[in-house]
Structure formats: structure tokens, C-alpha cells
């Protein structure tokens, strides 16, 4: 795994998938080394924009250059002004992209049965992972969910990749009504899964982690925390995570994540400052007035 690069990448195509847009970019430098679970950070707004920060997107596909130049794919949900700008960009436009960023999903060396759990566009990074797991001979189950049918992503490609997929929606507009975690225990049992991989909203990741723990198997989850730099220099993207030494620290989700072991993340302390965090004592000694200073 080599480091990230900054590329001016042409948009090769933009496709609508439900409520999402799926982007294909010509980005050979990033495609060359990207791994499932990693993400890219894209400049938005064009010249003289008032939006200074890049927007992050998990990689849905990375096809290193061969006969053609290497490409990457990601999936964009319209959210605020940055993603609104992005989804309006036409084919042929050029985007400034930094990647691949973050830690990938860790794969077993030997085939192991795995369940992949995707929420909304969170399914995107699981697809290339599924492909690798299947190619490596692992038994794979995929369950995807969303609030409503239009926010599902990847059903077809998941089905093609692993042969079948379980679908849930909160409102029952597709698949079974309910949460992705509802069918999860059964799927784990079905293939005697040894690992769960998940990507989606924080609440879902936490719930997936709990189900995995009940089955005494690890869950690798890709989180989404607000990021200013994406490359590890600013410290905005931290989560309270338990380390190998048992002590918890605020850990950067852009370089030490976005993939974490679910049972290491202190979900109930996200957005809080638990007393036992390394360096928390230092904070009370010197309360800050606000600001970086």
C-alpha cells in the first residue's frame, strides 16, 4: 500500500442509481494502489468557491490501468452544498481528487465466511471487498438496508458478485421491512461467519458491532466522521477508540480509520470526552476557551 496522491481526474461517467449518483473517474494514480475500505477526498465548488474543504467518498471500485487508464468509482448522496455541486458536474469535467486515503478493510489470509452489512450508500465500499473475498474463496453473505427503496445501493451488483443478497428497508418499500441488523444473526449462523464487515450510519455500525459481539466474532466497520483534511494533519475527525493497551484515545478516523474494529470504538462516548481517555486529565488542568489556541 503506497501513499496517497493528488490527481486531476476527468469524470468519465455519472450514472443515477436510485437517489444516488455513481461517478467513474479516470484517476490512474489513485486506482493503482487503492484497496476496499479506503476513500478519496474531492475538491468541490470550483474556482473562487467559498467551500474550502474536500468532501470524502468511499471507493466503490478501483480498476488499475492496463490497456486503459486506471479508473475509480464512488457513489454520492446529495447532502449539503458540496455534494449538490458535485452531482451537477458533467461528464468530462475535471475534479481535484486526493487518495487513496485511510485504512482498508483487513482481509483474512485464508478463506473465512463473512457477512457484509451495508446501509444506504454504505454498501458501496463493501462491493469491491465482496469481490475479493469471493475470489479468495470465502463464503459471503450480503445484507443491505436503507430507509426506503430509493436509498438502497448495490443490490444488483451484490447479487451478481455473491449470488444472493438480503434486503431490508425501514418502510418496507423493498425487501423485508426492518433494519439490516434483523436478518444479521441468521446470516451469521447460516454460513458460520467468522467476521462481519459493515459500512453505514453510526447507529447501524454500533448495532452491527453488538450483534457480532453476541456471536463472538469481530466486526470491521467503516465510519464517517466530519473531516477537514482527510490526511491526518488537523485532528478534527477523531473518535474515542480503545487501543491494544486497553487505554482509549481520540484517534483520527482519516488515517487510523475509517475502518475500525467495532468493539474498539466507544460508541456511546462519541461526541463526549470520557474521563478515562488518554490526555483527558490534561484538558481539565487547562480548560480551553474555544478555538485551536
Amino acid at each position: 500500500m503506497s501513499g496517497p496522491v493528488q490527481e486531476t481526474a476527468e469524470i468519465f461517467s455519472v450514472q443515477s442509481v436510485g437517489e444516488y449518483k455513481q461517478f467513474t473517474l479516470v484517476a490512474p494514480g489513485i486506482a493503482a494502489s487503492a484497496r476496499p475500505g479506503q476513500f478519496v477526498a474531492v475538491s468541490v465548488g470550483g474556482e473562487r468557491t467559498s467551500m474550502l474543504l474536500r468532501r470524502s467518498f468511499a471507493l466503490y471500485d478501483m480498476t488499475p490501468g492496463g490497456e486503459f487508464a486506471g479508473t475509480i468509482q464512488f457513489v454520492v448522496a446529495e447532502n449539503g452544498p458540496g455534494t449538490q455541486w458535485l452531482v451537477r458536474q458533467p461528464t468530462g469535467a475535471r475534479l481535484d481528487v486526493v487518495g487513496p486515503l485511510g485504512t482498508p478493510f483487513r482481509r483474512p489470509n485464508d478463506p473465512v465466511p463473512a457477512v457484509l452489512v451495508g446501509g444506504g450508500y454504505g454498501t458501496a465500499p463493501l462491493i469491491p471487498l465482496a469481490r475479493e473475498l469471493v475470489a479468495g474463496g470465502s463464503a459471503v453473505e450480503v445484507v443491505i438496508g436503507a430507509s426506503t427503496a430509493a436509498r438502497l445501493f448495490g443490490e444488483l451488483v451484490a447479487r451478481r458478485t455473491v449470488g444472493h443478497v438480503t434486503v431490508t428497508t425501514d418502510d418496507g418499500t423493498a425487501g423485508q421491512r426492518g433494519l439490516v441488523t434483523d436478518p444479521l444473526p441468521e446470516l451469521i449462523k447460516k454460513i458460520d461467519a467468522q467476521v462481519v464487515y459493515a459500512c453505514g450510519p453510526m447507529g447501524m455500525l454500533r448495532a452491527v458491532g453488538e450483534v457480532a459481539r453476541e456471536h463472538a466474532i469481530p466486526a470491521q466497520v467503516a465510519v464517517e466522521e466530519s473531516m477537514a483534511c482527510g490526511i491526518g494533519v488537523c485532528m478534527t475527525c477523531v473518535l474515542p477508540v480503545r487501543g491494544d493497551d486497553g487505554r482509549s484515545r481520540f484517534v483520527r478516523s482519516c488515517v487510523d480509520g475509517p475502518v475500525f474494529l467495532a468493539d474498539r470504538v466507544r460508541w456511546s462516548d462519541v461526541g463526549r470526552l470520557p474521563d478515562d481517555l488518554v490526555g483527558a486529565a490534561g484538558m481539565t488542568r487547562t480548560p480551553m476557551r474555544g478555538g485551536a489556541r
Binding site: G3, P4, Q6, S43, S50, M51, L52, L53, R54, D96, V98, E225, S226, A228, C229, G230, I231, G232, V233, C234, M235, T236, C237, V238, L239, R249, F250, V255, V270, G271, R272, L273, L277, V278, G279, A280, A281, G282, M283, R285, T286, P287, M288, R289, G290, G291, A292, R293
Partner: protein, 319 residues
């Protein structure tokens, strides 16, 4: 090609582009995008004695042409910093400015002592834009006597061969007075500006958007305030070098700071949008100086304070 070398007191730099404290960690991550030894210097994130967790999230909010952050000086503490970060910078051959922060004067002093004689330390930036625990959390740099006390004490404790710069906050009624107090207490130069105190309300959660309630505003939005501070401080203490910063994202932005009186500049928030910004800005600044007929960067420092005759004289002598 203009001679880009410059000095910050006794510290000689091949070029005037530095990183900004807290916007480049300790250089390692930026090393993936360019050779950090090519920077004028790396300015490291403000370090304190003990490890610090920093503040709860959310820690940032994007604002028009700026951002608000409330990191709360997360860091590993000075010992780990010296053992890991400073060692790495030394290996890279990167010139290094170490930023130190403390809750009281003694902490600053102890930090200066730990850095005493360390071969990798070219300069110390004293981040006095942080709260004084002994004074109900009032920021040191908001108060003349607190500023003087810290700067005087650090100057006495630090390696005499290492210049110390006081880093000031713009959130004061009269930055010239604070700058003069620092100068009188032995500062070898001034770094300006730190972030402006700001706030954003989350209109859906009905609370301040940041975990720390208020945060520091940075980026191009604050550039006119930063330039005004550099201008005023240059007039208040003309004999002290200034490390200018605040919203620099192009070579022409950097040139504005140089013309206003900065001897070198730090690039902060721009790095988040463009990790190779410092190198791009260096190239753009060099081109801008060339186009304008400056033979040397040093000729441009404070140029906008000169009257027409003085300018003429300076250009003719050197070009």
C-alpha cells in the same frame, strides 16, 4: 529568479514558506506529498507538557471561505513529541519551528528547557493565544502582563541561540500594545495571527455546532484581519521580524503579507484543501516577485510601508 532566502531573527531560511502550527501535525503526513525539507520550515502543532485528549467532536464546521475548529490542543505531550516527531523531522533534515503552549508560565518554561540544545530546533513559537489557567482562562495574549511574563520567562529559559517568537491572537483591542510588550520582554519576533474566536449554530440541532461551543476561525475569510494585524505590528515594532499567517492560499496572498511587513509566512488551512499548497505557493510567490522586478524577497519585506521615494531607492539599489 529572485533570491528567496529570508531570516527570522537569527534563523536563516532558504525560502519564506512555512507550515502553520496545528495545520501540518509534525510534517510526516505532508511528507507523502512533498519533501518537507524543502519548506522554509515545518512549524509543529503546539505541544504541551502532558498528553492531551483535546475536545469532544464535532471539532469543525465549514464557514464561508473559512472554517471553525475546536481541537483543544490534542497532543502526545513533550516527551513523546521529542522522541518521535522531532526525531523524525531531524532525520528528514527539515528545519523545524516548535510551537509550545502552556496553561501557566511554568509550563512554558519547562517546555523551553526540554527543547534546550536540541539540534533539530531552529526556532520556538510560543503560542500565547491559549488560556491562562491562573487567570480564569483568559488568553495570555489578551493581556499585556501575562504576555510579558511568559515571553520573558521563556526567553530566559530557552537556548539563547534559538529565536523565540510570540504568537498573538487578533482578538484584542490593540494588538500593537501586546506586540510591544512581547518585544520588550525579549521576543525575537512575532507570529500573527492565530484564529479569531467564532461560533456556528447548528440550525437543526439548535445548539452550537462545535463540541467546544466556540472555535477558532481560519482561512481566507480572515486574511484582511491578518494583514491588518501584520501592518499594525510592523508599525508598532518595526525592528522585529514577523511570521505572517491567516488565510494564505496563493503566492499573491503571501506577497500581500510580505509587502505588509512579514519576513516569512505560514500556510495553514489551505493545506486541508490542497496538501501541496506550501510548495505551490512558494513557486507562485517566486514568480510574482520576478514579474515585479524584485531581485530578492528581502527587498519586498514591508515595501508597502515605504513612500514612493523610499521604494524607488530600494528597488534601484538591488535590482
Amino acid at each position: 529568479m529572485a533570491d528567496m532566502s529570508t531570516t527570522l531573527s537569527s534563523f536563516r531560511l532558504p525560502n519564506p514558506i512555512l507550515t502553520a502550527s496545528g495545520c501540518a501535525a509534525a510534517g510526516r503526513e505532508l511528507g507523502q506529498f512533498f519533501d518537507v525539507a524543502e519548506l522554509g520550515a515545518v512549524v509543529t502543532k503546539s505541544i504541551m507538557m502532558q498528553p492531551r485528549s483535546g475536545r469532544p467532536t464535532p471539532r469543525m464546521a465549514e464557514t464561508p471561505s473559512g472554517m471553525l475548529n475546536s481541537i483543544g490542543l490534542q497532543g502526545p505531550g513533550i516527551d513523546s513529541f521529542i522522541a518521535n516527531d522531532l526525531a523524525w523531522l531531524h532525520e528528514q533534515g527539515a528545519r523545524t519551528v516548535v510551537s509550545i503552549a502552556g496553561g501557566q508560565t511554568d509550563e512554558f518554561v519547562e517546555l523551553a528547557r526540554r527543547l534546550y540544545g536540541h539540534p533539530a530546533v531552529s526556532m520556538i513559537e510560543v503560542n500565547i493565544s491559549c488560556p491562562n489557567v491562573e487567570s480564569r482562562g483568559q488568553v495570555f495574549a489578551c493581556d499585556v502582563s501575562a504576555s510579558s511574563r511568559v515571553i520573558g520567562a521563556v526567553r530566559r529559559a530557552a537556548d539563547p541561540n534559538v529565536p523565540i517568537f510570540a504568537k498573538l491572537t487578533p482578538d484584542v483591542t490593540d494588538i500593537g500594545t501586546i506586540a510591544r510588550a512581547c518585544a520588550d520582554s525579549g521576543a525575537d519576533g512575532l507570529s500573527l495571527i492565530n484564529t479569531l474566536l467564532g461560533l456556528v449554530i447548528d440550525v437543526d440541532r439548535f445548539t452550537p455546532a462545535l463540541g467546544g461551543v466556540t472555535g477558532g476561525l481560519s482561512g481566507p475569510a480572515i486574511r484582511p484581519v491578518a494583514l491588518r494585524c501584520v501592518w499594525q505590528v510592523r508599525q508598532a515594532v518595526p525592528h522585529l521580524p514577523i511570521l505572517g499567517m491567516g488565510g494564505i492560499s496563493s503566492g499573491l496572498d503571501a506577497l500581500q503579507f510580505i509587502l505588509a511587513g512579514a519576513s516569512a509566512v505560514s500556510v495553514g488551512t489551505a493545506v486541508f484543501g490542497d496538501p501541496s499548497a506550501p510548495m505551490r505557493i512558494l513557486a507562485e510567490l517566486e514568480a510574482a516577485l520576478d514579474e515585479r522586478g524584485f531581485a530578492a524577497l528581502s527587498d519586498a519585506i514591508g515595501f508597502a510601508h515605504l513612500d514612493a521615494d523610499e521604494r524607488q531607492a530600494r528597488m534601484t539599489v538591488t535590482v
